[in-house]
């Protein structure tokens, strides 16, 4: 048995990676396509404020973070829907407001810096059995939500107004999406950390958009890529003894660079094939013209000859 599986905490960490890797990018598809990637960053900062409150009050951090992200997600959606603040402005207010709250609480309560570090950057040691149950429950909730509302999510992502005129209850759906995004961030923070969870939500989606088509296929491909980079990153973190958050995100970025490089090479070779074809056609055309010209000359000579005979 490989060394990595001899440690119970690593088995938990890898199981957590599978759950987080599958769920975070699945939601990411809808956030990225609606240009709401900043939502993930905002809610991760809100979760950080929740973690700071929990550490200060010695309560269960994921539960407090979940309450904080749910409250923030609902408030942001309400502000956007009532047009009290433009979408981006509402996100910015919550992002910086939450960060300020976290900084103030951290400065008030000294002594939990090492624990906070594990939430910020992830830690293979901190994934408990309780965390795993949270993650598994959330994965099931997300899978059910996406199966039930697959058509509605696709329509809202395509165009909000069109979806509303088609009878989709856009506001409720947006609320559900925002709340579950907050929940995903809350449970992912153990694995990749709050500062990097946004990357796990976004980068697998960018890769899958490059390699596949069809909305359902893109969701599945994003999840598969998410699982691959989360597990690979976690294994690398174990052997290299580095923070798993950074390892997972760097793995994802490496994969993105490889996919982009392959796509670029394909484009280049396809362009070169097109150029070659165009060149061959040009040559063929030139030969044809030359042959026609020669025939015409021959014809002219023949006519001239005929004329001269006459």
């Amino acid at each position: 048995m490989p060394e990595i599986f001899q440690y119970e905490f690593m088995i938990r960490a890898i199981l957590a990676s599978v759950l987080v890797g599958a769920t975070a990018p699945a939601f990411g598809v809808f956030l990225v396509l609606r240009r709401l990637s900043l939502m993930a960053d905002t809610l991760s900062h809100v979760a950080l404020a929740g973690v700071a409150v929990a550490l200060l009050t010695k309560t269960f951090a994921p539960a407090v973070a979940l309450v904080a992200t749910t409250g923030a997600a609902v408030s942001i959606e309400e502000l956007r829907m009532r047009r009290l603040l433009p979408g981006d402005a509402a996100l910015a207010v919550f992002l910086y407001g939450a960060l300020a709250v976290a900084v103030v609480l951290i400065s008030i309560a000294e002594g939990f810096n090492s624990t906070l570090f594990s939430y910020l950057f992830g830690s293979v040691l901190t994934v408990s059995t309780t965390d795993l149950w949270w993650m598994a429950t959330l994965a099931v909730v997300i899978a059910v939500f996406m199966a039930l509302f697959s058509s509605e999510l696709a329509q809202v992502t395509f165009d909000t107004d069109l979806a509303r005129i088609n009878g989709v209850r856009v506001h409720l759906l947006n609320l559900g999406l925002a709340v579950l995004t907050g929940a995903t961030i809350t449970v992912s923070m153990r694995v990749v950390g709050l500062l990097l969870v946004g990357a796990l939500i976004v980068i697998p989606v960018i890769i899958s958009l490059r390699i596949t088509g069809g909305l359902a296929r893109t969701v599945f491909a994003s999840s598969a890529i998410g699982v691959f980079v989360a597990v690979t990153g976690m294994v690398i973190a174990f052997y290299a003894d580095i923070a798993p958050g950074g390892s997972v995100v760097l793995t994802a970025i490496c994969l993105l660079v490889i996919v982009e490089a392959v796509a670029f090479t394909r484009r280049l070779s396809s362009r070169s094939i097109h150029l070659q074809i165009a060149e061959m056609q040009q040559h063929a055309h030139a030969h044809e013209s030359h042959a026609h010209g020669a025939n015409d000359d021959a014809g002219d000579n023949l006519s001239a000859g005929t004329r001269s005979h006459r």
Partner: protein, 283 residues
């Protein structure tokens, strides 16, 4: 005389008279037969009125154009008609029901100028998007049910996008995207089709094809058409009635009664109208 034909003697028709023509015809219909009715409708953004005291109806079978300069409130008027905005005062009725409480959406098709997906690498195929038109409300078992692909195929054929069915949406040209959106809106066989500047960004040949298709929907299928536009030429050629709006109604009536004076009032500078249609009198 066809309702699309225009005559020179319509140039100096009184505006009030032209408005009465349509209002009177709508009075003979039951409220649920009138696709759209604006009733003393006002709408303001931050206490600045964008739409002021609008009163007119769009009757079944009309090809109605909403014409106006940029920032005149025509898109706002369309969004009010579709219940996407709620009037500040007055009301907007969609088939006799206040637009913001309307639920019978399969009767209404909508073709926006652009979609949110236009700018993103939206991964869905044309068929998937057209299939959105089959949606008839939340159904927890929808994922297990067979889609009505016959209607989707029929709509794609009508809009001329059947050969693009498997193409990715983000790979389509502007004209092809508009046709795809038309197909999406036709799936539910609507009674009313609302379009916001549908030919913006389409070349002349594509524009003519597009208008010919819409004309067919209106004349052959009896679909009521509402087209928001700032293209006076297209409105004069295609529409049967026109509502000119510059925050309030400057003119509403049959398109052959739209004259240079109404257009000058609409745009705030002198406008000459020249008809290039060889079948009709030049003016």
């Amino acid at each position: 005389m066809s309702e699309h034909e225009r005559t020179a003697d319509s140039v100096h028709v009184d505006e009030t008279e032209s408005q009465n023509v349509d209002v009177d015809s709508s009075k003979t219909l039951a409220p649920d037969q009138i696709p759209i009715r604006f009733d003393e409708t006002w709408f303001s953004y931050n206490s600045e009125p964008v739409v002021r005291d609008i009163n007119f109806s769009i009757t079944p079978g009309e090809f109605a154009a909403i014409l106006g300069p940029n920032g005149s409130g025509k898109t706002t008027l369309m969004k009010l008609a579709l219940g996407l905005l709620k009037p500040t005062s007055g009301r907007v009725l969609l088939f006799g029901v206040p637009a913001d409480r309307f639920t019978d959406w399969h009767r209404v098709g909508y073709v926006p100028q652009r979609t949110q997906a236009t700018e993103s690498r939206f991964p869905a195929s044309v068929r998937e998007v057209v299939n959105f038109g089959t949606y008839s409300g939340f159904d927890p078992l929808a994922i297990f049910k067979r889609r009505r692909s016959d209607r989707v195929d029929e709509a794609m054929e009508m809009a001329g996008v059947q050969t693009l069915a498997d193409r990715r949406v983000s790979d389509l040209s502007v004209g092809q995207q508009q046709r795809m959106l038309i197909a999406r809106s036709l799936v539910s066989r609507p009674d009313l089709l609302v379009m916001d500047e549908p030919v913006a960004g389409i070349d002349a040949a594509g524009e003519e094809q597009f208008h010919s298709m819409i004309r067919r929907f209106n004349r052959d299928l009896g679909i009521t058409i509402v087209m928001v536009s700032h293209d006076i030429g297209a409105v004069m050629r295609e529409a049967t009635t026109v509502a000119c709006i510059n925050r309030d109604i400057v003119f509403h009536g049959p398109v052959h009664r739209l004259d240079a004076q109404a257009l000058s009032d609409l745009y705030g500078f002198p406008v000459d109208v020249l008809m290039h249609d060889p079948e009709h009198t030049h003016r």
